[in-house]
Amino acid sequence: MDYLSKLENQSIYILREAFNKFENLAMLWSIGKDSTVMLWLARKAFLGHVPFPLVHVDTTYKIPSMIEYRDQLVRDWKLQLVVGKNEEVLKSGVTYPNGKATRVECCGTLKKDGLKAVLDKHHFTGVIVGVRRDEEPTRAKERYFSPRDKNMEWNVEDQPPELWDQFKTDFDKGTHIRIHPLLHWTELNIWEYIQRENIPVIPLYFANEKGERYRSLGCAPCTFPIKSNAKTVNDIVEELRRTKTSERSGRAQDKESEDAFEKLRRDGYM
């Protein structure tokens, strides 16, 4: 069995475990390449079906074509979509684009707190998230099934053991489990799989006439394109096989301080 197929089969196994063990299960869908691959893997696992809702935490600052692409796939693939927003903060206007919050504070309220509000409202006890170990060092320490306490906090010093595909599926009331089917995939694996399976991705990933493309997608004010001539999936795969620049280099919030991202994640950020 080739390596991509090994990854695929492992992710399917994880998704099926999650679906069997959690009554209130949802999948976070950021519209990006990773969570779209994850959505594709769900259709593999459940033989064409997606038997749980998708949650999109909308900061309202997303690049507009992301929302169009999202709504298109919801129609084409007959998905159940739940959109979460932190209305309170959006109303008060305490955001980075308004100059009233730092980037990290803005991520904290619009994304992290926005997510918590959706989870609380729908009582989700299992949340499938498309993080990968190779994205950045804190994610390298994640588990496939990773518990979060009542305040959504991640206790990285005391994580459950995880061996032989026996995952943590027993948990106390009020806590929830994050499930990470893509944890062992790399950025290159994601694109190789998109290539192999012919998965539709948002065109923002492909180079425009100015020779720029997005490598990682987030909110418009904090996400910057990279220089690239990769116009197709094949081009991107070739480009990634040569690059030594990290994927999140275009994500400004990671760089405010040495441990900015680590703090966000401990507090419950994806």
Partner: protein, 639 residues
């Protein structure tokens, strides 16, 4: 410094090897990993400079370990707390490096890392020599089934690159590993901080002409998927997205194909594979080890998550007791007499310790005696023990099939221990023994039923009391037993609760389980009666078909079946309500309660009918005694 081996990723990795780095705290694991990354050209651009700048800003010397120890708390304590996994590539293949903590406190993280690895590098500080965790990790690697091990003797620079020191450590550690049956592939002297013998041979140790670490890594083998073993397909879930029932799971060993006759363990149900289900993949009528697929069956049989699908020709063991080697990670000890949850493949079963044979300190290999108190396994201890599950589970020994030969134990919400099924003399099952074929014969003794009856002064009977809850079955049964005993007859009551405690402890209260419970009681009562005893049973046994089944079982024996209908109107029973069950049933706290929300099918032709709303207990007992006397007089054995 050594020349770097450039390893730009030029093609999709054809294979990946997962390696865990273990060893005692501070023996240089994270430093080694940082250095390995640098020397293979695997660092992202600017990463080294960024970390050097951070160190400068903090006024501390730059440490290679910081590459891995990205978390704040770890930088502060300078020890690895959790396992982290990172990638690098050599010309040969891609590697995932799992950096596992060396502190005893974080053993569960070390095990998490090691359990996912195919090979291990174990670091020993040349300066400090072999320490507690050096030995414990060696022991656990073996228990976890990792056979490819290279030992790196690190910090050779602090021992002036002494060949004698290296050879001494190699000798001592080999001797230790030998006692647990481990033979490491090789030992390599290194100084991770300076890159000696990592990517190229060190000028500081001209006496070393063996492999570099990178060359040693490339000699390790990727674990093959167990395609050639007997089929093991644990059912993960059953999907009904449309009119079909699809059994989902991953082929853990062997292969499965359309037309295979499949045995589901431990229930022993049989069906045939009708189709292999996949989505957006080429249609194939077979699936090999490692594939997550679905199957449909030609005959619709009841199969749930947990069933282990195999071929009939090579079934697993199906028992409720097995020997294991186990490591315990829970804060609370693993105690005798307490119930835990066992997870093996997709099966889950309640389990407890049957006996503890040996508790081992994995770092000294000494048996822990605790002044004879062998009632628990403590945190970070390893034990050889026997486990008992509440119901039979299907398994293999770890030495035969890995995926179905290992398990974890859940204590409350936590995965608290793990282990492997040890070899033992488990009863083998064969295709023949799985079915009630003609191969089982009833063995007849040399004492006849008549001889027994003459000796006892009475025949064996099954007196089967049936009726609503509260109708008086148990009261009559125990009084009848006492009366028979008083006049010298051998009798015994099979009580519902007592039977469920042991004989039927794996059964619940679904109609299927109730039926099975009655069947077992019937078989049991028959054996009692054949032994010459008057066996009295007191079960609601609401279904006529179930009671008729028992009558049929007895028809094949010398003993007589006497069905006694304990008949009292439901309102009287409800007034009595000795166990408060009617009240609960009316409040909907008990579902499917006979007479309230589930039917009672009265016997059409009982041997005896007792209207307990009109008869006293003594009168009822007398009626049964009278009936038994008449029977025995008829066969001329009455006293």
């Amino acid at each position: 410094m050594n020349a770097a081996t450039p390893s730009a990723i030029t093609s999709a990795p054809s294979e990946q090897l997962k390696i865990v780095i273990v060893g005692h705290v501070d023996h240089g694991k994270s430093t080694f990993v940082g250095r390995l990354f640098h020397d293979t050209g695997s660092l992202p651009e600017g990463k080294l400079e960024q970390l050097q700048k951070i160190a400068e800003r903090r006024g501390v010397p730059f440490e290679w370990a910081n590459l891995m120890d990205a978390l704040q708390s770890e930088r502060d304590q300078n020890i690895t707390i959790d396992t982290a996994q990172i990638w690098f590539q050599t010309k040969k293949r891609q590697y995932v490096i799992i950096d596992a903590p060396g502190h005893k406190e974080f053993l569960k993280n070390m095990i998490t890392g090691a359990a996912n690895a195919e090979a291990a590098l174990l670091l020993i500080d040349a300066n400090e020599g072999i320490q507690e965790q050096s030995r414990r990790h060696g022991y656990l690697l073996n228990l976890l089934g990792i056979r490819q091990i290279a030992v790196l003797v690190n910090k050779m620079d602090l021992q002036e690159y002494s060949q004698a020191r290296f050879e001494q450590i190699e000798r001592d550690y080999r001797a230790f590993l030998k006692t647990i049956g481990v033979e490491p592939k090789l030992f390599i002297p290194i100084a991770a901080k300076h890159g000696d013998n990592i990517a190229s041979l060190s000028k500081n140790m001209p006496w070393w002409q063996g492999l570099t670490v990178l060359a040693a890594l490339d000699q390790f083998k990727v674990t093959d998927l167990p395609d050639n073993q007997p089929l093991r397909f644990p059912i993960q879930d059953v999907y009904r997205f449309d009119e079909r029932r699809i059994l989902a799971g991953r082929v853990e060993a062997g292969a499965i194909k359309v037309g295979d006759k499949i045995l589901f363990n431990p229930s022993n149900k049989v069906s045939t594979v009708k189709s292999i289900e996949r989505w957006n993949a080429p249609s194939q009528d077979f699936a090999n080890a490692g594939e997550s697929i679905g199957i449909t069956l030609t005959e619709q049989i009841f199969v749930e998550r947990g069933a282990l699908a195999t071929l009939e020709s090579s079934p697993p063991y199906a028992l409720n007791r097995f020997k294991a080697r186990l490591f315990w990670l829970g804060r609370a000890p693993f105690k005798k007499g307490k119930t835990y949850k066992l997870k093996l493949a997709t099966q889950e079963a309640e389990c407890e310790i049957d006996s503890i044979d040996k508790i081992i300190d994995a770092s000294t290999l000494e048996t822990i005696s605790r002044d004879g108190d062998q009632s628990f396994v403590g945190r970070h201890e390893v034990a050889e023990l026997t486990l008992r599950t509440k119901r039979p589970i299907a398994f293999d020994t770890h030495s035969e099939i890995v995926a179905t030969g290992r398990f974890v134990i859940v204590d409350g919400f936590e995965v608290a221990g793990g282990g492997i099924v040890a070899d033992d003399n488990y009863p083998k099952r064969t295709a023949d023994s799985l079915h009630k074929s003609g191969n089982i014969y009833w063995s007849h003794g040399k004492v006849t039923a008549h001889q027994r009856a003459l000796r006892n002064g009475h025949s064996g009977y099954v007196v089967w009391l049936t009726g609503l809850s509260g109708s008086g079955k148990s009261t009559i049964a125990t009084e009848l037993e006492r009366e028979l005993f008083n006049i010298g007859k051998h009798s015994y009551v099979l009580d519902g609760d007592n039977v469920r405690h042991g004989l039927g402890s794996d059964l619940g209260f679904s109609p299927e389980d109730r039926k099975e419970n009655i069947r077992r009681v019937g078989e049991m009562a028959k054996l009692f009666a054949d032994a010459g005893i008057i066996c009295i049973t007191a079960f609601i046994s609401p279904y006529r078909a179930d009671r008729d089944l028992v009558r049929k079982i007895l028809a094949g024996s010398q003993s007589q079946f006497i069905e006694v209908f304990i008949n009292a109107p439901i309102d009287i029973c409800e007034q009595r309500d000795p166990k408060g069950l009617y009240a609960k049933a009316r409040a909907n706290e008990i579902k499917e309660f006979t007479g309230v929300s589930a039917p009672y099918e009265a016997p059409s032709k009982p041997e005896i009918e007792l209207h307990t709303d009109k008869l006293t207990v003594a009168e009822s007992v007398a009626c049964v005694m009278e009936y038994l006397n008449v029977q025995d007089e008829g066969s001329q054995i009455s006293i």
